[in-house]
Structure formats: C-alpha cells, structure tokens
C-alpha cells in the first residue's frame, strides 16, 4: 500500500502522532514500577528512559532517511532484499498487534479495579476497541487530526497533577541516589518500555511531508513532551508518598488525585481516568493502524480498512486470554524481551547495514 495524497500528514501532525502513540496505559503505574528498583531516583530513571528513546529515534531516522521510498516495505527491500523485508514487515505487524493486546489487557485490569468491578471484561474491551477501530479505519490524516485535537487533554492532566502539590514532602525521595546509579539504570531499563510508541516512525515516516530534518525535529519534540509529562508525574508521585508507601500503591497517580478535592468536583481520579482512557484509545488505535498498514503493504492492498477489523478482532479475543495475573505477567515479560529485538536490535542492525550500503555508493 502506497500513501496517497490523502494520507500525507504535516510534521506537526507527525509530532502528535508519536506523542499520542507513546502516551498510553503506562502513566498510572509508572512511578510504582520504577520505584521498585530506583527508589528516590525513579524520576532520573524516567528521564534516562526518555533519553534512550531519543537516541533510538535518531537511529531510526538515520536509516529511514538514507532509504527514501514510498513506504516502509519498499525502503527495506532496497536495504536488505525482498524476502527479508517482507519478514521484517510481518514481524513488526505482529509486534504491534502484541503491543495492542498488552495495552488492552492493562487497560482492562485497571478499569476492573477502579470503575467496573462487576462488568464483564469483554464489555470493557469492546468499549475501547470500538472507539479505536472507528478511528483506525480512517486515513492517517484523519487519525493525526484527531490526535492533535485530543492532545489538548494533556493540559487538564498536568493541571490536575499540579493541584496534587497541596500536601507533598520534598524530602521523601531524597537522597536521589540512595540505591546508586546501578539501580537507577535498572529503573531506566524498565522505564524504557513505557516510552514505546516511537517505533511508529517506521511505518509512518514516509507519509510525512517536509524535510528529513523537520521530521526528526517533530519526532524528537513528541518524545520530549512525553518525557516531560512522565518525569513530572513520577516526581509528583515520589514526593506525595513516603518511600515505604509507594510499593503498596500500584496506581500512585490515581491516589494522588483522589487525596484532594476541588470543592466543585471531588474524586478527580474519575475524571483523570476518563482522560486517561482517551490516551489509551489513541495508543490502541495507533498500534492497530500500524499493524494493519503493515499487512496492507504486504498484500499490496489499496486500503487498510478491512485489515483493521480483523486485527482488532484478533487482538480483542487475544486479550481475553491474558487477564489472569500469571498470564498477564508472562505476556509482559515476553513483550519486554521481543521489544529489545524490535526496538533495539533490528533497528541498530539496519542502521549498521545502511551505513555500509552508503559507503559502497
């Protein structure tokens, strides 16, 4: 599938595409997870995680820029030959589908815990999936338009968090380096997974108008914004909860919001959850879209629409099997392992190949 004129997006839209894809389920439990390893230095870990993502974005950019083509498959065919390229696209499509399953199962877990304890899980899945599919079947341009629009919701997200400063102790996380740099890097290793989403660059890069520099700038800015939001929310959680409290609250973000009232509205966490749900929907939509675009490129189809339905259906059914805690953890670990391959290994390999190819010419 080649990108038609209708599919072209501007660098600004690309920025928000990356941002909304990255900003997903993670934000609620980020502080809790990273704190396990890095303790008070968790926010530094998150910052480093953002930095690693930035380096990866540059690597992605470097080998995509060198292989100009009309879509990812063609670019890879140039670089590594037909068969390998096809294998790559199949691999990435499956990877995106798996990430969709992970996002959905994490969403259902939190929703069941916080809002719908009695509702059957498939209903929960269906709510998000319907909204995501309705958007994912549209052209990239419409999706990006919508992402720019819903990005306004980041403002209330941050503002609500700022209100949380009412009862904080800045001494809670100090000293930041109590566990040492090793622990912080261990945390960074984990936080890296919360930044996943910029690998959307692979399949959307060639749909962006403008210069290569502009595209890099857009992607980096998107990543920067996500890094800021993540670091900030992590820091707020760190100063709101005592070090021995944090391991006990799996979704510290929501507890921070639940602790204060705005006099007009109590229970900010419920409003926060609604906004968070939009972020999840956009992430799910992105991954379904990316996966279906990959399949569409393989099948040389004109339209990715019919693949969206199938992939979404498979993902939804797949999610229902991952909902026991044990299986959830297994999926989580599995995706962590394969994302080293798909987000670290393969891109770096491709980058090196493209370096050598470049020299030959």
């Amino acid at each position: 599938m080649n990108y038609s004129v209708k599919d072209k997006i501007t660098p600004n839209q690309f920025l928000f595409f990356i941002l909304q894809t990255q900003l997903g389920v993670g934000i609620l439990s980020l502080a809790h997870q990273i704190h396990k390893d890095a303790k008070g230095g968790a926010w530094i870990s998150v910052l480093i995680g953002g930095l690693i993502s930035q380096v990866m974005i540059v690597i992605f950019w470097a080998f995509l820029k060198k292989n100009q083509a009309s879509n990812f498959l063609q670019a890879m065919e140039k670089l590594v030959g037909k068969m390998t390229a096809k294998g790559l696209v199949i691999g990435y499509s499956c990877f995106y589908a798996l990430v969709t399953v992970l996002e959905l199962s994490e969403y259902v877990r939190i929703m069941t815990k916080w809002v719908f304890p009695e509702t059957p899980v498939w209903v929960n899945i269906l709510i998000v999936a319907t909204a995501a599919v309705y958007l994912a079947k549209e052209s990239l341009r419409v999706i990006s338009r919508m992402y720019v629009f819903v990005s306004f919701l980041i403002f209330p997200l941050v503002i609500f968090t700022i209100f949380g400063f009412k009862n904080v102790h800045f001494t809670y996380p100090m000293p930041f380096l109590e566990e040492g740099w090793l622990a912080i890097f261990k945390g960074a290793n984990l936080s890296f997974f919360y930044f996943l989403g910029y690998e959307a660059m692979l399949l959307t890069y060639f749909a962006v108008e403008g210069s290569d520099k502009g595209k890099l700038k857009a992607a980096s800015l998107g990543n920067l914004l996500v890094t800021i939001v993540y670091t900030f929310t992590t820091y707020v959680c760190l100063i709101s909860f005592a070090p021995n409290e944090l391991p006990l609250v799996p979704e510290p973000m929501l507890y921070v919001l639940k602790s204060y009232s705005l006099h007009v509205v109590e229970r900010i966490d419920l409003i926060f959850l609604s906004i968070w749900m939009v972020s999840v929907t956009t992430s799910v939509c992105s991954f379904i879209y990316l996966s279906s675009i990959g399949v569409a490129q393989l099948c040389k189809a004109k339209d990715h629409r019919k693949f969206v339905y199938w992939i979404a259906a498979v993902c939804c059914i797949g999610t229902t099997f991952t909902l026991t805690p044990h299986r959830g953890e297994m999926l989580d670990d599995f995706i962590k392992i394969i994302s080293y391959g798909f987000v670290f290994g393969i891109p770096i390999l491709l980058f090196i190949i493209s370096l050598f190819r470049g020299r030959k010419r």
């Binding site: 509702t119 341009r141 720019v148 109590e266």
Partner: protein, 506 residues
Amino acid sequence: MERIRRRKARMPHSQNSLSFSPEAKDVSPSVKENIDYIKEQLFHSDDILERDIYFDDRQGKLIFLETLTDKHLIIESIIKPLERAKVGAVEHVITSSGLEVGESLDKAISWIISGKCLLFLEGIPEMYVCETGLVVKRDVREPDNEGIVRGSHDGFIENLVTNLHMIRNRIENPNLVVRYFSLGKKSDTKVALVYMKNLAKEELVEEVARRLNLIPTDFILSPGFIGEYIEDDTYSPFPQLLYTERPDRTIAYLMEGRFAILTEGNPTSIIAPVTLFSFYQSPDDYHSRWMFGSLIRTIRFASFLIAFILPGLYISVVTFHPEVLPIELIYSVKSSIERVPYPSLIEAFFMELTLELIREAGIRLPTRVSQTIGIVGGLVIGDSVVQTGLVSLPMIIVVALTAISAFVVPSHELSSTVRLLRFPLMIAAAMFGFIGMTAGLFLIFTHLGKLETFGNPYFSPMMPFKLKGFKDTFIRFPLWHLNKSTKDSTPDQRNSEKAILGEGRK
C-alpha cells in the same frame, strides 16, 4: 420580414428543439388551427384566455393563461400599442420587455405555462411571444427565525429575482456571478448558483454545478431537496449546508469564497462549504464591539457543550459516580432522586420527550394558543411531575437548561443535531458512566474529524488544527485583524482588498 428571419437564424435553440422533437409541429397560417392545437395540448383548461386582435388588416388572437399573466401588462404593452398603431411590424409596435418570434408550436406550450402571452396573426406562420409574467410577492421583511438586534432587517422572499437583487445591490462587483440551473424532471424550478469569481475556488464551483446537474428528482419542493442531493455525507447527523434567509449573512459568506444556492419560490439560501463553527456565527457578533461579540460567541459554544453533554453527564454522575459531587450536594440530589422509582435514564427520556412534544406543539399552533401550551407545559407538567414523583427536581433543571442551550444555536439545523446527539450520549452514560461518555464523545469527534464538505474539513480549525483560524471562531478578533487571516475555503488572496475590487486573480 428580412429582419425576422435573421433573428430566427440567431435562435439556434429553438431550431434545435424543432429538429429533435419527433412530433414537431410548426405554426400554421391559420389562427384557429394554432389556438385549437394549444388548447388541445393544455386539455382545455379553464384558465386559458384568448382575445381577438385586429392589426395590419389581419385577424389575430392573443392567448395566455390568466392565472400566470399580468393582465395590466398585457393591456399596456400589447393591446393598447397594437390598437393605436393599427399597421406596421409587430415587433416594433409591441412594447413588452421580452419579445421573441417562434415557429414551433411545441415550444409554445412551454412558453404559455411559464406565463408568457402568445400572439398569432392570420396568414403569418409565426407567433409572437411576449413577456407578461405575473409576479406575486410579499414584502421584504426580517425573517422571524433569524432575528438580530442591530444591523439590516431585510430578508429573502419567495421571489428569486428580488433575492438576487438584494445580493447584487450589496455586492457591487463585476466578479459576482449568477448561474441559472433548472432542476426537476416534471416541473422546472429555477435555481441560481451565486459566487464570487475571484474568491471561490474554481474546482468548488465546478463540483457544485456537477452535483446540481445530477439531481434526478421530479420536482423541487424545498431547498432541503437540493441539500440532501448535494451534501457529502447523508448519514451524518451534522448539517453540512447552512440555510439562511438573511441577505447580509449570505453575502458575508460569498465574500469568504463560499457559494450560495437560491431557489425560485423559497426564501432560503443554501450556503456551502461551511464548518461547524459557521453555524455559531451570527451577524450580530459583528455589529457589537469585539469583546462583547467574543463573549456572546463563547457563551454560544458553551451552550453547544451543555446541550449535548449535560444530560449524559448528569445521568452518569447520578447512576455511577455520585461521589464526584461535593457532600452537601449529594444529600440534596439524592433525597430528590430517592422519591423516583425509575432509573434516571427513563426519567430523562420521559422529560426530554415531554419537552420535544411541547416544542413541536408550540411551532404548529397559532401564537394565541401556544401561550396555553406554555402554561400547560411549564406550570402544570413542570410542577406536578415532580410532586407526583415521576421525575426528580434536578432532572427538570438539567432538561430545562439543555432545552434553552439547544435554542441558543443561531441555526435551526444544528440545534436539531444537538438535540438528536444527546440521546446516544445519554444511553452511553446510563450504561458505562464517565467511561461511556468518553467513548461516545470520542466517536462523535472522530466523526467530526473525518467529515468533509466539498473538500473542506468540517471541523476546521480544530481538526486540522490551525491557530490562525481561531481568529473568527471562539473569539471574534477585531475586524482589522480578521482581514489578515486566511481561511480554509478559499485561495489565499480571499480577504485582500485587491481581490475584492476585482483587480486581480493572481
């Protein structure tokens, strides 16, 4: 005679129809034969009138439909001059504003049913077609449904020429172009497409002309007929064409490079392409100072959100998340709700239905009776429904607020959309609370984001996001600011003085 023949040669149109029509019948030299033929074709309808004429030593007959022609005009421009002159060339004597010479009797039928008057003279195989149409029109008045405080108080009427006059009179510019179309297979309706040649995109005009020509309907009852045929997405709840009866509003849109479609026999002009935000603009905004104009506009947008979110929000708060409210409020709301045995969705549906009934009844009834409806609706239903325990008090407040908000929209079409859209949101809220509302809104905004009318994004400048476009949406910037802005519907030179004065397309 020489000249007449020359004129005929210049009328390829009538000759064409002559050669194409299989049963073409020429005008015969005998007057009686012609008159009989016409009467036969019109099935001896009783409103056919004929009058004997004696001119140039020939017996003649004037034939017309009395229901379509202006009798005074016939007397003044045909009969009197002919009587006075007695001899001469007919086309010199008749003073009617339009005069044609025809040879085909089939054409005569279409002429006569369009209000023209035919003159036959014995021995001449030709007929004279005089323009004598009767124009019945009401006064130019301000449209009742689009009143404003300040500004011009005229509105379109049922006469196309008068309406076009109002537009032309306001835009004295050679770039203003009027294109006529005749629509409807069984009954021709004259439709005018109006646009500014230098401001409207050429592809846009071509596209609308194409769509107008493709309309397959038998007759055009109202602009809604045209609207439904030319709009992009019929399955969208949102109106994609703006209907207005105000000439000033119409020309404002024409000057933004949009086009207007006016129909004979209807005071409504259709304007497209529009964005959602066009429906919230009113000429009043530009007559008041910009700060106040902005305030009013912001309130209108707030009304948009209230009208379609509030009922759903209330239902989800009451059924799922009462803890969102402050403690004191929970007590008073809960105590009122506890007396009602139904789920709040049923309550809301019942109340919304009642409201829609009152509204519908109010529209159809004459003003004197509709006051009674107000009393019955407002006092009797509003008060007793609560006392009986059918509906809770907060629900009445919510529904009333929603109703008022829905009426704030300056466009009737969008107001109905807003009223329609809140029902699915209410259902979503009753099923899944805030989460359902979020999903519902997500779907609606996705729909808005993908909707396009005549190639323009409908939800611009929100989707796609354009900061410049905000100068005239939520806030009305001072006018000198607006002149610099560029909008989506038009080429970039749209607002520059040069383009308006017609000095240059590029």
